[in-house]
Amino acid sequence: MKGYGKYFGKKIIWFLITLVAAVILNFILPRLMPNDPVAAITARTAEGISDVSAVKRIYETYAEQFGTNKPIPTQFYLFVKNALRGDFGLSFSQYPRSVSDIISSAIWWTIALQLPAIIVGWLLGNILGALAAYIRKGFDKVVMPACLLASSMPAFGMAVILLVIFGITLKVAPTSGAYSYTMIPNLSWKFIKSVIEHYQLPFWSIVIIAIGGQAIGMRSMSIYELNADYVKYSRFLGIKDGKIVRYVFRNAMLPQVTGLALSLGSMVGGALVAEIIFSYPGIGTSILQAVTMADYPLLSATTLIITLMVLIATFVIDIIYGFIDPRVKAAQFDS
């Protein structure tokens, strides 16, 4: 058990070092962009104003409010101090909305779309992959090319194809939004039905691609494991097929678990394409807007969330691996 303690301790130290580096990069990188976000807000406010000194005054007022006229180290100190309290300041692009408000109102849509999609895609993909490897023959000949096609298609391609076929041509699914454009959110069956209908195309556009990638990975791993010496040996010993499949599945699963953790970690930034093509609400469009408008506070906060989620996911995986994979455990203890 002492070995585990050392293993965890080392992991935690690395986790913290990566976190500090990520926070610094999150702060600095957006500010290296060669543009002036305050000028963009000034432009919006200056509508109908032709007096030059008046426009200058608007600019200075905003610069003061955002603190962009302060030196960078001071800005960094303020950023970290406020971020620790969960306050990421005011957004530039959606001023005077606070970054926390933007994120908290959008992120639930992203999670509600991405989390089930990633899990369903992962489960279906792994089952299909394992079956393809085990059954082979006709099943594999159909599943394998289909999965290759699905996984090699770019996300926007899949989204547009679904939109054109089901939304525009067949008219069986709505084309945009998260609920009917005539509705106001409320807890009624009619509204929930509308939400489920609008959920389908964005959901499947993510799931289909995920299934393809996962199935291919799982199939290769399973085939590799099925030909491993221990399988042959088990067969030789006369162990039942069902039991062998369990061994094979457990070993083949390991890399797939890493894949799942990473996709859960990067979930927040991942639904951008579905959000744009289907005008589906979520955090992705806010991130895109933050990039194009040089909205440092929003950009820093969203990238920080993504970084944290990925870090936590990999950390958890490392810890779990220590338990479930004796090879990792052994390697760690050796070093």
Binding site: A54, Q94, I127, L131, Y181, N186, I196, I276, S279, Q289
Partner: protein, 637 residues
């Protein structure tokens, strides 16, 4: 073995079915939580709640009307609102709430807040709204008298008074609102003479002349009038702090227009008709506007809005749609525009290519004009605008926009010898050869005083029509031996560079001009060539290429106070002559101030050219265009 396979397969199919069910439940369960979220974080809890309460009182217990806004009572817009709103505060520029609030020189948006007059870009006229009858200037144009309609009332039922008008101005100056900053340099005070009469006193210069009477007229159609009592309430709760006042979401705002706040979340914004609107009085419209709700769904981008527009989920679309005529000619959709034939829309602004006069060689008018006459404008209009712009053979270039009113302000014949229609490669080459600007080292590019002429042509990335135009400018350069390469930076970078006091990054770059307004074409003359903008940091006002001409500055000073029509014509003609001779910038195409395409599957009888109603195509919202809301009717009443 075979039995085992069958068993596994059966198990797998069963699992997939189970997962399918799980997913269905999943979406049902996970979704309502975010749905609750927007509803509870709605930016407008109190007015929306009030409105919903009203609704319940109005219609008994018609709770369905709360969940689902009836399609045939709602007019849907697209292309006006991007991203969620921040509130309903009309004295702030940070509300990002474009359906009810948009201040514009060419007539502000009027469904919720009202101006004294409504500007009509078709005839340049000022139509009374809160005002009663025409405004009156005194002899030297230093004072203007405006009377108010006795019927005009606020949404709380109290009358709109001269005190409200006077205080709206005072408040704007005090807190540097858009009105204060825009009108402060031109309007000194606004005084309430009696309950229904105000006198607007213009700022005067040392010689007692008004600073700019044109801007005072612009005020009438640009600046909203607010209720004094509400402004004071706002000041009190924000402790007279300017920043706090501008951040206040103003959920309790009092307004005089026909629509008020109803609902808003991150996905849509809806304003609802106030059925007690004062404008039903015979002295104004005599009735209520036809739609009960005006709604705007937030689409992620133009293509998403276009899909909804084609599907009939959007009635009025303020988006550039390439080859718009295909929607009715090929697709057979019930879609139309202000004009049946090309250019389909009423053009008002001049997307312009500016020369950076501090770039090497671009201080030379010959080089500037040579590039300008070599550009193939027909290709720009056909490709970039898909013919939704008049051609330069139809509307010759000047500083005026294509509306009849502006075209009539100068003598076309006097400048005809300076005109060009473009694609004149031989003419451009000859012009450069004659000036001794030739290729001396045989590399295919011309040199000027021994240095190769090489420029970049820039516009913001993703602005596809502008990008296409810049590619055509670059192609023209190649044909006449001047190297021009295109560069498309992101908008946030682009605007930082072009508005800088000095920049050496872009040589030829695009910026738009203002559209129609009471100050035009004077305002555009100033925007295109006034030297007052040179050396200004954060210059959003104009003359981005830093051109300077003392005579132009004189004309800019003379025109606003000139009342003699003949003299004005002379000044404007001279200004166009200088513009076409010096070519500090050149117009690439004409463009509407607002695109105005309509889908007539639910509503019909939209304003059209030649329908005799003289309503401008401003999305039924801006200036006198709001009259369209009283004209449209249901396809199936």
């Amino acid at each position: 073995m075979k039995r085992n396979i069958m068993k596994t397969l059966a198990l797998a199919i069963a699992m997939m079915l189970l997962l399918g069910c799980l997913f269905a439940c999943d979406s049902g369960e996970t979704q309502p939580s975010p749905d609750d979220k927007p509803a509870t974080t709605t930016k407008t809890p109190s007015p929306a709640d009030d409105a919903q309460d009203d609704e319940e009182e109005d219609s008994g217990s018609d709770s369905a009307a709360l969940d689902d806004i009836p399609r045939e009572e709602t007019l849907y817009f697209a292309g006006l609102q991007w991203g969620p709103i921040n509130g309903w505060n009309p004295v702030s520029s940070d509300m990002n709430n474009a359906v009810p609030i948009a201040v514009a020189a060419g007539g502000s948006r009027l469904p919720m807040f009202e101006t004294l007059y409504m500007y009509n870009m078709l005839d340049g006229g000022m139509y009374p709204l809160l005002a009663d009858g025409d405004y009156q200037w005194n002899a030297d144009m230093t004072e203007m008298t405006v009377k108010l309609k006795s019927a005009a009332k606020w949404s709380d039922g109290t009358p709109v008074t001269a005190e409200d008008v006077a205080y709206s101005h005072e408040f704007g100056i005090k807190y540097n609102t858009n009105h204060g900053l825009a009108m402060g340099p031109y309007i000194d005070t606004i005084e309430a003479v009696d309950g229904r009469t105000v006198v607007i006193k213009a700022k005067v210069n040392e010689s007692g002349q008004p600073e700019n009477p044109l801007m005072v007229v612009q005020y009438l159609g640009q600046s909203y009038i607010f209720q004094k009592a509400w402004l004071q309430k706002l000041e009190a709760r924000c402790n007279n702090d300017e920043a706090a006042i501008k951040k206040d979401p103003a959920e309790d705002v009092v307004y005089s227009g026909p629509y008020g706040p109803y609902f808003a979340n991150d996905q849509k914004v809806i304003i609802k008709r106030n059925d007690n609107y004062w404008g039903q009085d015979p002295s104004m419209w005599g009735k209520l506007p036809a739609p009960k709700y005006l709604a705007h769904v937030m689409y992620a981008d133009n293509p998403a809005g276009e899909v909804a527009f084609k599907a009939g989920e959007v009635d009025v679309c303020q988006q550039f749609i390439p080859n718009i005529q295909d929607l009715w000619l090929k697709d057979g959709l019930p879609i139309s525009t202000y004009m049946d034939e090309a250019p389909y829309h009423l053009s008002a602004s001049l997307p312009t290519a500016w020369y950076n006069t501090s770039s090497y060689g671009l201080d030379n008018a010959v080089i500037r004009k040579a590039i300008a006459i070599a550009v193939d404008y027909d290709a720009i209009i056909a490709n970039a605008m898909t013919n939704q712009s008049p051609k330069f053979t139809e509307v010759p270039r000047s500083i005026m926009n294509p509306t009849d009113g502006e075209q009539a302000t100068y003598n076309k014949a006097d400048v005809a010898h300076l005109q060009w229609v473009g694609n004149d490669v031989e003419g451009a080459k000859k012009m450069l050869d004659d000036a001794g600007i030739v290729d001396t080292d045989g590399d295919g590019w011309r040199e000027y005083n021994g240095q190769k002429l090489s420029y970049n042509a820039c516009c913001p990335n993703g602005w596809t029509d502008w990008m296409a135009a810049m590619e055509i400018v670059a192609a023209a350069g190649e044909k006449i031996g001047i190297e021009i390469t295109t560069e498309f930076p992101e908008w946030s970078v682009y605007q930082t560079v072009v508005t800088a006091a000095n920049q050496d990054l872009y040589d030829i770059f695009m910026m738009g001009t203002d559209g129609s307004a009471p100050t035009m074409p004077w305002g555009r003359l100033r925007q295109l060539m006034s030297s007052e903008f040179i050396g200004v940091e954060g210059n959003w006002s104009g003359n981005y290429g830093h051109y300077s001409n003392p005579r132009i500055d004189e004309l800019i000073a003379l025109i606003p106070t000139e009342t003699d029509e003949a003299k004005l014509r002379e000044y404007y003609t001279e200004a166009v002559e200088i513009y076409l001779t010096d070519v500090p910038s050149f117009t690439l195409m004409y463009r509407p101030a607002l695109f105005d395409s309509v889908n007539e599957s639910v509503w019909t009888n939209y304003p059209e050219q030649g329908d005799g109603n003289n309503i401008p195509p401003t999305n039924l919202l801006n200036g006198y265009g709001i009259a369209g809301l009283y004209q449209i009717e249901l396809v199936n009443p």
